[in-house]
Symmetry: C2
Subunit: 218 residues, 2 copies
């Protein structure tokens, strides 16, 4: 669908600024390879990452309507993105209502993932949040055809993970070790191996409904 749109592609290294916070972009970006994250900085220098994006995700389509970026987008590991201009997007939505609906749908699924994340931050322990993240990522990557077997590449620093989970680096480190010891997951040097998805999902109280991976007519 998006393949038909004119675009320019660009590659970023870890930490690279894909879209700047508070900017007013004239184009939206889609991840082609690698990962990107939505980041929010506070005045005291602390950071919260509110979403992690995988290939196929339209990261900042909402800015097409909101005009101003309420967050920045940074590369996690090396990351290749395609920028599509708002003009193209507008043309698509006007000429093809069906494709317009799919764009709307993608922002709406994005919202569902955010809601699940709110629940995660509000009501789960550190260990559960980590497990939940891995369950979600595994399914999203599998749906994107990227996860091989029960393992995937995830170049996420423990410090970035801490900002994603709303925890401190030290605590993340300790709980990650506990997860490894439990034998459910092995995550080391950018490679995640899920040893027992069922038990991991049980630990995380993970229910994949919100990911909307089931095929529905819309």
């Amino acid at each position: 669908m998006i393949n038909s749109l004119p675009k320019r592609t660009e590659t970023f290294l870890n930490g690279g600024e894909v879209v700047a916070e508070d900017s007013r972009p004239g184009e939206s970006c889609m991840i082609l390879k690698g990962f990107a994250a939505r980041s929010h900085y506070s005045r005291d220098g602390s950071r919260q990452i509110s979403a992690l994006h995988v290939p196929g995700d339209f990261v900042d389509l909402h800015a097409y309507l909101l005009r101003v970026m309420d967050h920045g987008v940074i590369a996690i590991g090396s990351c290749e993105v395609a920028y599509v201009s708002y003009d193209s997007i507008r043309r698509v939505t006007e000429e093809s209502p069906h494709l317009g609906r799919l764009l709307w749908l993608s922002t709406v699924i994005d919202g569902a993932i955010q809601r699940a994340w709110v629940t995660c931050l509000g009501r789960r322990t550190a260990e559960q949040r980590m497990a939940h993240l891995l369950c979600e990522l595994y399914l999203r990557l599998e749906a994107a055809g990227i996860a091989t077997g029960n393992s995937f590449h995830l170049p996420l620093t423990q410090s970035q993970l801490a900002d994603l989970l709303g925890l401190s680096v030290v605590h993340v480190n300790k709980k990650l070790q506990k997860l490894r010891l439990s034998g459910l997951v092995d995550w080391r040097g950018g490679i995640v191996v899920i040893r027992d998805f069922g038990d991991l999902a049980r630990l995380a109280e993970f229910d994949p409904t919100y990911l909307s991976l089931r095929v529905e007519t819309r």
Copy 2:
């Protein structure tokens, strides 16, 4: 805009189920009077409220595209809502692209509010979360023409507040008292009085940009 659509209205008491979790509704609801909240239940009985809605909000428009509700909607205090059928919504989006864009916009602003809430849960203390909530609500209610002066009606139980902030009831109670003592806010018996919005916003590190209250052409 919505006034032109055919609808049925209904009134709920505190805690009433406006839309059921996991259901597949055939209509979307808009708040006319009072408040409603998105609630997610866990297996262990704990609950997280992921959003609080004020009059004018289209609470579950996303289900028009997602088909399945990933959360429930409950009334906070007594609450009057209007249900609009998906057929009407579909007709509007097809006949008037501009109104369609406004509907899309409303789901996208909803997403921005959720992102801000993720940052709040991940990186702010109990007191700051409470202050942030009040700042946000005040501006939203003012924009909806409901907040009078520096005060508004908010029939939120401390237990509901705890589920919204991701805290325990006991802790909410103690921090609320601290807020009262500080003189920034007086919240008692369902009435919130903001004594010093500036200081409250400073405490919460509140930045209203994400609410998209500025008028932009879209």
